[in-house]
Subunit: 206 residues, 2 copies
Amino acid sequence: MKLKDSNTEERIMEAAKAVFMKYGLYGARMQDIADTAKINKALLHYYFRNKEKLFDQVFDGALSRYFEQMEVIHDDSLPILERILIYVVQIIDFLSEYPQMSMFIIKEISINEKLFKEKVHKIKRNKNANILTILEKSRKFNEIPDIDPVLFLIHLHSLCSYPFLAAPIFKVITENSNIPFHDPSNLKLKQSVKDYVIYTLTKKSI
Amino acid sequence: MKLKDSNTEERIMEAAKAVFMKYGLYGARMQDIADTAKINKALLHYYFRNKEKLFDQVFDGALSRYFEQMEVIHDDSLPILERILIYVVQIIDFLSEYPQMSMFIIKEISINEKLFKEKVHKIKRNKNANILTILEKSRKFNEIPDIDPVLFLIHLHSLCSYPFLAAPIFKVITENSNIPFHDPSNLKLKQSVKDYVIYTLTKKSI
DNA sequence: GTCTATACTCGGATAGAC
DNA sequence: GTCTATCCGAGTATAGAC
């Protein structure tokens, strides 16, 4: 019996992440996960009872890491504009590390809405205020202009997430010029989203 | 033998669209499609040889209807700004009719990049100029400011598509307040995207 | 803990009656 | 053209040796 087998579990989780993220719950194949982790299919069942359980761990992990990114917006030691600008940089860095994250979460939620509603709510419940409330408050105190906070939030996420979401299309359309990844750490993307935020929240162009 | 059986094929196509759009190629079940079309599973194979062929028809249809929306940008009887504003309204109307369209196309492309590359190119080849070239030209002739056309295009699509793409998440997060569909014909969304376009292409806020 | 071999199940596809 | 019944492969899951 070997001593350092505990990393097998990690290898499986890494493989499972990669495969589930690409193909989703239905599309993923246990054989594919096993191959990627360079172990036998039977071992998957030894470590994680069955496919659903393995998927759940992957999905839960993804979901909480995704929502974790928003923590910074809750830190009220900084002005709201600052917080959002930090968030922009952070979420773009996060998504360039896990480009399939948004797609994965959205797709699985849309297929199995009911099942995941509770998970999202459990995560949300841990926060004393959600972002919409924060924006509403800032608006009341005239920290930001009289904008629609829901629409602003949607646009903010649109600008940050969609470039990664749609990367496969852009890649095909632009013959592998690999937009927006031509830019090593997405500096241009970050800057233009920040510009949008600054313009919208101060009504001053920069 | 009935006379009006030709609509069976249509019913199948409608059912196939709905099921494939929601679950994707792998996730979709022929039984599910048959049930939705209110016919027997065997009939699916009678009309469309097999699952792949049925899927192909659905995907091809979706892809060309999606790209059709961009036609207006090629009509050079109008100034570029006008064309893009029309496109914004049009694509948002289109996506609110088929909210799962973007997700479907992106997801299938990302799973099977190679297979669909040719299809996209076949559609693209029919156009004498693509949108990026049009933007480049407008910029040269000082019709629009000195912006990065790729980045602009990405942002434009982000703002239009992501709200529908992420609707499942927003729906869960906001407890069915059904954003952004609280707004009957998405007037607020259209207006704010148009504002963005006008601001970016004229550098004048409105 | 890890493997091979195998059992079981689901779903796509086909045969054939009507 | 539409149905029922059935086949068969693919993929999940388990048994059991090591």
